[in-house]
Structure formats: C-alpha cells, structure tokens
Subunit: 155 residues, 3 copies
C-alpha cells in the first residue's frame, strides 16, 4: 500500500492551504476513480511566487521552483479531495505542464521535472506518470508555470 | 435528474447547428461513459465570429463572447452525440481553454468564464467542472479562442 | 477485430525504436483500459527531424511530416506497451497537437492531419478520434510539433 502521508513527512513537506479557483470553476472533479485537477499556478502565501517569462524574467532554477509549487498546490487539493487521506491516491496518471517562456527557451523538460521529480519522491513506484510540456506566450496572472493533472483514486 | 433541455429553454438558448470538423478527425468520441469533444472555435453562421489576438484585435468582452460560442458549439455536438437528448449528459468533467492572446494579456480566467458561467447556468449542480486556461500565440483559422472538453454520459 | 499489425504491413510502415523520455516521466501510463501517451516530438534516428517554427524555419509540408513522425513515435510506444501486439489497441480516443509556429500561422489543422490521416489509415474504422490543435511559441528541444494522446486498450 502507498504511504503518501509518510513520504511527505519523511521529506519534511508541509502542504500549503488549498488554493481557491481564480474564477467560476472547481479546483478538482472526481469521476469514477479519476481525479481531474484544474490548472494550478505557483500561488504561495497569497501571491504568485514567480511571475513573468522563463528565459527573460525568471531563470531556470526559479522556474523549476515554480513547477514544484504548482505540484504542491495540486497535492493540497488532492488532500482536500480525500478528506486529509492522501493515501487514497493510488497513482499519478498524467500532468500537463504549460510554461510561460520566451520563444527561444527550449528547456521545458527541466522545468517540468520540478513537478515530476517531486511526484516520484512522494508516490515512489506509484509515481510513474505520463506528461506533456509545452510553452505558452502568456498565462493567467502572468504566472510562469501552470500545471493541470489527472490522478487515480482508490476505492 | 438533470434537466438540461429545460435549462436551455428557460435561458432562451437555441443551439446552433453542430459544426463539422475542419479536418480529418471526429467532432467527439464516446468511450465508456465519457465523451471527449474536439477543440471548438467560435464558428457562428458559417464564419468565425472573433478572429485575432485578445488584447489587440479582440477586446475582453468579445473574447468572453467567443468563449460562450465555443461552448454553444460544444453543446450542439453533445446534442448530436445524444440523439437530441442532452439530459443524458450527467456532468461536465473538464474544459481546456486556449486563448490566442498578446504576451501581456493575463485575464485568461475572465475569458474562460464565458464558457464556465454558461456551463454552471445550464448544468446547475452538475456543472462543477475542472479547468485549465492558457494562452497560445496562434489558433486554427486565426480564432481567438479554442475549447476542448470532457463530459460524462449517463447509462 | 482490428488488425493494426496487418495495416502497418500493408502500408509498408516499419515502426521506429520507442523513444526514451527526455526527462523524469514515463513514456506512457495504462489505467484500466486507457493508455495515456506522453507528448512525442519528431525524434528520428537520434535527432529531432524538424526544429524551429512552422511558418518561418519549417514549411507546411515539413510540419505535416513532423506530425507523422510524432505519431509513429506514439505507435512505437503503444507497441512497447502491448508487448508487440498492437492489435490490442482497440481505438484512438484523442490527440492533442501542439505546433511551434509563428503568430501568423493559421493552418494548424493541416499540420495535425499528418498524424490524423495516419491514424485513420492504420486503425480504419477504429481510428475515429477527437482532437485539439493549437500553436505554442516554443516546444522542448525546439521541436516543431508535439503530440500527446489517449488510446483505448482491449481487455
């Protein structure tokens, strides 16, 4: 059995408060055993941690950090969805990583690994996930990264 | 039970004719109880209602309108998929909103709410949906908005 | 019954070696009867066949070719996922086509048809798929096209 709660504790990760949607949609939807999590941006302590374009305003290390924050916000929502029992999440299926970058930035995979590495550390062998990573010329609230995702929920 | 047909009538919404795909794909695919709807652009009366970049050629009110039209085209396809029985659609799972915008446009959530607000009005408590909203530097046929989506189909 | 292996043979298509992910994610994930394939770029013979922006560095015929290569790489992964028995793939559900283009390129559907036409030829009546096609201002490794996808797997 997965022990995601223990993984978080071992890694010293304290989940942030779940963020509220910035408009008229839901933070997540559960359909059968699948949780669809809405696009998360790097909200942290009430502001957006990294705003602007990767490759100009934001360097690659900051972008990796932004990607991690998106994933932490995703986990906070999964925690809410499972009534504080993240162990009910049985696997990560897919993440879609959108990176607000300059036209000549080609290291989207490194940025996306901010989230992917964290998934692997936390979910261990249940963290094998599919992924896409593409650039965008702009994101909501001038965020540098947005990640939406699909997770599997146990019965 | 959902009464989407009544909601549409109450709101005075007359669905457009379902649009044909602009290339060699299907407007929607049903797999088990899930309907995947292809990306819809704001086709209206045979032309694209809003072409160009939001933040330059298209203002935010027009972009919201474009987003609504994308959703109406989606509903027209769901109506086709259910043989004119939209009440068989049991919920909206997810919409992905792509906005053809300038680099300095950050109000993607307002544009996406054009579609989301309509979903909430029509599906009521079954309209809770997950969402992503990102910008693109160009869209097919110079459309200002494209929306693809996933809906749940009852047995 | 589908005979995808025969279709490939009839069309003279030899699948490439499955590509390895360019970062810390999985090439595909199987959840119940659905296979989620990670975003594929036009890797061919160890390099990326078409790099740069469609509409400037890459013309439309080259972009169509890039789109086909993304699909062939997808099929190579499906072949791996099914232990060399592609006939177990019962249908294509959805492809998402991301095109690294200039701001004034509007023929995303033609580019995406590179992949869609190939799906139709290979899967025949099981090749009816939903699709979205949008532009991006940049893609990993300066690829001209990226395609992620969802396929149905038989029992």
């Amino acid at each position: 059995m997965n022990n995601i709660i223990k993984s978080l504790s071992d890694l010293g990760i304290v989940l942030p408060e779940p963020t509220k949607p910035v408009a008229n949609y839901s933070p997540y939807v559960i359909f059968k055993n699948t949780i669809y999590v809405s696009g998360q941006i790097p909200f942290k302590d009430g502001t957006i941690a990294y705003q602007g374009k990767v490759g100009k305003d934001i360097n690659i290390n900051e972008a990796v950090d932004a990607s991690e924050i998106c994933l932490l916000n995703t986990l906070a929502l999964l925690n809410l969805a499972t009534n504080n029992n993240l162990n009910r999440i049985t696997s990560c299926i897919k993440i879609n990583v959108f990176i607000n970058s300059t036209d000549d930035f080609f290291e989207q995979p490194i940025v996306a690994d901010g989230a992917s590495n964290l998934i692997k550390k936390i979910f261990k062998d249940k963290g094998e996930h599919a992924r896409s990573a593409v650039s965008c010329n702009s994101l909501p609230k001038n965020a540098s990264v947005e990640i939406d995702s699909v997770f599997q929920l146990g019965d």
